[in-house]
């Protein structure tokens, strides 16, 4: 057995993911918040903006759900573990920083997918038809990875005070929702809004969800998928690189 080998490290990342799910995700408040937050935002816009079709808002709801759930807990795991000194335990184990980050990402990806599937079922229950089911599943998986990487990226500042990270996280996450074509269709956005929206990975995901439900899309599907893939790659590599730099400062 080569402990530093790729397959061995992936196996150990899975152990970290299981630990995260058990400790941080399978908690009543986390699960409730994961569903409650996007549903509350959805209802607010559904009731206040009657001219938008349900299919548009449901697509936004799916986008928001995945984005909020995949980034809900992951930014706080490093500060929590730093505070509890369990991060030092992990750091002294035969796992790389990349493995620890990857393990955290797997947990938040699975959590995001699980809750998002519920939202998709809500959409179907409300009478929406799913035109491109395989595409939807594939992009949920890709976007969950992307948003998990964003969540881990938010945890890069080496503070062990979770509230500091959560504040930073909210400051970045909420504005992103408003520039990603969730509540305002991309077609109706001003030029500056469109420029901002192309910088958000959530834009491409929401566009693809809309395509899966209605067949309509703003960007070509290939562009949407390619953009999401590039964001995922850049954020994953970036978060691993940056955590390697900052992790010793948490000890």
């Amino acid at each position: 057995m080569n402990p530093a080998g790729f397959s061995e490290q992936v196996h150990r990342a899975w152990a970290i993911a299981k630990k995260d799910i058990r400790i941080y995700y399978l908690k009543g408040p986390v699960l409730i918040f994961g569903v409650f937050m996007p549903v509350a935002l959805f209802l607010a816009f559904f009731m206040g903006s009657r001219q938008l079709p349900l299919s548009f808002l449901i697509s936004g709801l799916v986008g928001m759900t995945l984005f909020f759930t995949a980034t809900a807990v992951s930014p706080a795991i490093f500060p929590w573990e730093g505070q509890a000194k369990t991060l030092e335990r992990l750091a002294s184990c035969p796992v790389t920083v990349e493995t620890i980050v990857f393990g955290d990402m797997i947990a938040s990806t699975l959590f995001g997918i699980g809750i998002t599937i519920i939202t998709v079922i809500i959409g179907l229950a409300l009478g929406l038809s799913l035109l491109h089911g395989i595409t939807l599943l594939a992009i949920i998986l890709l976007a969950a990875c992307c948003f998990s990487a964003i969540g881990m990226l938010l945890a890069v500042p080496p503070t062990n005070v979770p509230s500091n990270i959560m504040m930073l996280s909210s400051l970045i996450k909420f504005p992103l929702v408003f520039i990603s074509g969730i509540f305002v269709p991309l077609e109706q956005m001003p030029f500056w809004g469109l420029v901002l929206s192309v910088c958000s990975p959530l834009t491409y995901f929401t566009d693809l969800v809309r395509y899966s439900f209605t067949g309509d899309h703003f960007f070509p599907v290939v562009i949407d998928i390619a953009a999401l893939a590039v964001f995922t790659l850049v954020f994953t590599v970036g978060t691993m690189f940056l955590h390697k730099k900052t992790m010793p400062k948490r000890m």
Binding site: E8, I16, R22, A84, K85, E88, A91
Partner: protein
Amino acid sequence: MTAIIQASNLTKVFGKSTAVDHISFDVQKGEIFGFLGPNGAGKTTTTRMLTGVIPPDAGTATILGHDIQSEPVQAKQRFGVVPETSNAYTDLSAWQNLMLMGELYGLPRTRAEERSSDLLGMVELLEKKDQKVQAYSKGMKQRLILAMALIHEPELLFLDEPTSGLDVQSTQMILSLLRDLNRQGTTIFLTTHNMEEANRLCHRVAIIRCGKMAAIDAPEKLKVAIDRVHKIEVSFAREIPADALAGLTGVIGANRTGDKWQVTTENRDATIRSLVTFSQQNSTAIVTLNTLAPSLDDAFLRLTCEAQP
């Protein structure tokens, strides 16, 4: 002897303060190596550098033949760590913590279960294996941490103040386990400021002060090295005149304290031989004979005060 730990010019700087300043030492296979120093001396920082938790700013550390900077995973696979602060996952049970460690060290599930049962039995936590760690006492947590560090049968064990603040029962259990492990071949690197613990347990100790190495030797050698003049306490079966002892080879002075004589000497070996010869020549038995060496506490205080800037 094979060096298990080779630290060379290890240095760590935090801002303007140099926590560890170019320290070098080796730990041999099968040793219990004590790393002593007052609070803030750089003990924990050194341990963290050796265990790959933080990188050194200068110098190198080779653990079991692997550079901790370039081959951290290979090195960590072969040692276990018991940190100063208990860091088991309190939301998990003892069993879940051990199984997690088993997975992180790449143990097959059946082997991890076998080891977990054995270790929980050894640290007397088997009955509470399914209880969440948050309900454990400090001693129980520390015993669990030791079990977690041993899950993969490491060749080297790092312990940072393992008995600090523990009750007598847990302390004795941990020390006894460490002796047993060492007897079975595990090399132990023990960070402590408990002199008695180091004195009873360690083959060699290093004393660090203000990030610099003040001394490194066997505890007994350290104790005698700090005092050029030694004291020997002796009592005889019958009365002895004072001038009779003062004239013996190696003796500088002799003072009576109760029914005993306290003899001052620069050469303990020669003086003990003289005292034995004296008792034979004067047909009087030696009732007690004690060498009053300074304690490791004395050595520690002397060395750390001398090294004080």
